[in-house]
């Protein structure tokens, strides 16, 4: 049960910070005596958190579904022709910095949340596709052979044997994807989407360090809470499959 402790601690801290930040006004006033408005009040922090989560959830869920589907498809005999392209693209695409992808997506698709979600989704697909392919291809051939020999249908073999064995790696890919998305979503504030990055950007342009600190703490806590949840899920279900060395943005 100790594995559940860490995500719970981060989650409690996150919720406490987003609902209680405004009441910390005296603290920020003491820390930054020169600031007239030491607490960001344009939107409530809880609302910002919700907007941020919505952006992450939409692109994360879609990236998960589409990414796993692509990974499964290119490892079936009928989709094998696309496997090379999928592998090359998912590996090469990840050398593109996510912030640059965001900066390119917006001019070619217009301002606002939709292009941002699309950019987040496209980028988020890459680790999921890569890890799904890796997870499915590392299933020992002997196991597949045995399943077929026992009379499993292709679908049953996929559902009962391949996906469960590939699950830790797929989940790890999803974790990398979601953590990157949390960071990149914050940057989407630069193209006019309201997220937890908004206080930071306003703070930077208005030289209000307190705003920057408030936004940064919340984004950091969100990322740590979500990462700890993935970690707990991996430990609980698969007895720990290592943490990824992937990047964030």
């Amino acid at each position: 049960m100790t594995s559940l402790l860490r995500p719970c601690v981060w989650l409690v801290l996150l919720l406490a910070a987003s609902f209680g930040m405004t009441s910390l006004r005296p603290l920020f006033a003491a820390l930054f005596p020169t600031l007239e408005r030491p607490v960001y009040l344009q939107e409530g922090f809880a609302a910002l958190l919700l907007a941020h989560l919505e952006l992450v959830a939409v692109s994360g869920v879609l990236a998960g579904i589409i990414g796993i589907a692509i990974g499964v498809a290119v490892t079936r005999p009928w989709g094998a022709a696309y496997r090379g392209l999928a592998e090359t693209l998912s590996a090469a695409g990840q050398t593109f910095p996510p912030v640059a992808v965001l900066a390119i997506a917006v001019p070619s698709m217009g301002f606002g949340p939709q292009p941002a979600v699309l950019a987040l989704l496209l980028y988020g697909l890459l680790p999921v596709v890569q890890n799904t392919i890796a997870g499915l291809t590392q299933v020992p051939p002997a196991v597949l052979d045995a399943a077929t020999g026992l009379g499993f249908s292709p679908f049953r073999r996929l559902w009962r044997v391949e996906l469960p064995l590939a699950a830790p790696l797929i989940l790890t890919g999803l974790r990398v994807s979601v953590i990157i998305t949390i960071g990149t979503a914050a940057l989407a504030s630069t193209v006019g989407v309201t997220t937890l990055g908004s206080p930071i950007l306003l703070g930077l342009s208005a030289e209000n360090t307190a705003y920057v600190l408030q936004g940064a703490v919340l984004i950091g806590l969100l990322a740590l809470a979500v990462d700890a949840m993935f970690d707990a899920a991996l430990t609980l279900f698969f007895a720990g499959a290592g943490r990824p060395a992937g990047g964030t943005s």
């Binding site: 696309y82 593109f96 912030v99 070619s108 630069t190 920057v212 940064a216 984004i219 964030t248």
Partner: protein
């Protein structure tokens, strides 16, 4: 005679390529730099020899997909990419004659068609192996260079922004490289010994690697934000520090944050590389009488080196992207141009910053892959 079925990958890509112009604007034309442009479809834009060139390219690409000719696909794919660029450039030139202030920007249709043509190239190059990869890269570079040199693209909004910012772009690029170098060089000096320590003493590894993992998890914009206040306070408290450049904004927090991010891939890859040395090899080395130093330098370090280089590659690619974000806290570099464009709605300016960032990351990745020995062809001497 049995007919071979068409290429299952190229054919759908080519069909999609042909359908894009029906749905998406090829370019947008605006009266000036700041207003939103009107969309212009491909069939309005395409005139003259370049239209025939692009159409011929598309036809040949279709033929390549049907007949399974990857080499033809590479040639015709480049033809399509170049032809589309030429069409866009020509539209801009025509507009420039009638309305000098007008801006022609590349539209979603242009980008999607280029992306699909590029996918055709990637797939065809994959099928032909190393030679195809080299040819495709060479042809794309040659086509881009000739379009740029001939001045065909000069009236596109992107190139006009380039002309306006020419004198800023070079220094920004250098600044970007400077930030990455200042962060990565000390990271190697700290991270490699740290990785060795994590490998030698499991207790250190259990403490250090998860801690660095937490740092990696915190998104860059948040980490930059978190360093802002303490560093600013530090500079106020000790003005001497401020004089050597330590303050909440600028290079110092950017380099420091990048350094913290870079420690994990370097340290953990060093540790993993050392841990991947088989026990039997280590036992044999001890058994034949190598000293601890000889075992480390002649066996362990050499076997761990490819993993270390892979860590360095991940680090540099990652730092290149993070350095762009660092522009938000005033570190300068290419990110400054990119965010300038995003904040002011000058989207071609955003591209002008973003494209070199990607170029830098991809180049660094490519160069480090070239020098990294692969496990299979580790050259024995």
């Amino acid at each position: 005679m049995r007919l071979r079925p068409p290429d299952p990958v190229l054919l759908p890509l080519v069909v999609a390529l042909g359908m894009v112009p029906l749905g998406l604007a090829f370019v947008t034309v605006a009266r000036n730099r700041l207003v939103t442009g009107r969309p212009m479809p491909l069939w309005h834009a395409a005139q003259g020899p370049e239209a025939i060139l692009s159409l011929a390219g598309l036809a040949l690409l279709l033929l390549a997909a049907l007949k399974r000719g990857p080499w033809l696909a590479i040639l015709s794919g480049v033809l399509v990419m170049g032809g589309l660029g030429w069409i866009a450039g020509d539209v801009a030139q025509l507009q420039a004659i009638s309305q000098p202030a007008a801006r022609v920007s590349l539209g979603g249709g242009f980008w999607l068609m280029q992306a699909l043509a590029a996918l055709c190239l990637v797939e065809a190059a994959r099928q032909t192996g190393r030679a195809g990869k080299a040819l495709a890269t060479l042809l794309v570079a040659a086509a881009t260079a000739s379009l740029m040199m001939s001045g065909t693209l000069d009236d596109l909004s992107l190139l006009r922004e380039y002309a306006n910012r020419r004198d800023v772009l070079g220094p920004a690029l250098l600044r970007h490289i400077e930030i990455v170098t200042l962060a990565v060089a000390p990271t190697v000096l700290i991270g490699v010994p740290l990785g060795v320590a994590c490998y030698r003493r499991e207790a250190i590894g259990r403490l250090v690697l998860p801690t660095l993992g937490v740092v990696q998890t915190i998104p860059s914009i948040a980490l930059f934000g978190l360093m802002l206040a303490p560093l600013a306070a530090l500079a106020t408290w000790q003005p001497a520090l401020a004089r050597i450049g330590i303050s909440g904004v600028g290079m110092a927090p950017a380099v420091l944050a990048l350094l913290l991010y870079s420690l994990l891939p370097i340290a953990s890859n060093t540790q993993a590389g050392l841990a991947s040395v088989p026990d039997s090899v280590r036992d044999a080395a001890r058994g034949i009488g190598m000293t601890r130093g000889q075992i480390f330098w002649q066996v362990e370090a050499q076997l761990a080196f490819p993993a270390l280089l892979a860590g360095l590659r991940i680090t540099i690619v990652q730092a290149t992207g993070l350095a762009a974000v660092a522009a938000l806290i005033g570190a300068g570099g290419l990110g400054a141009i990119m965010f300038d464009g995003l904040f002011t709605g000058a989207l071609d300016l955003a591209l002008l910053g973003a494209i070199p960032v990607i170029g830098l990351a991809v180049t660094a990745d490519l160069l480090l892959r070239l020098v990294t020995p692969r496990a299979t062809d580790r050259a024995p001497s």
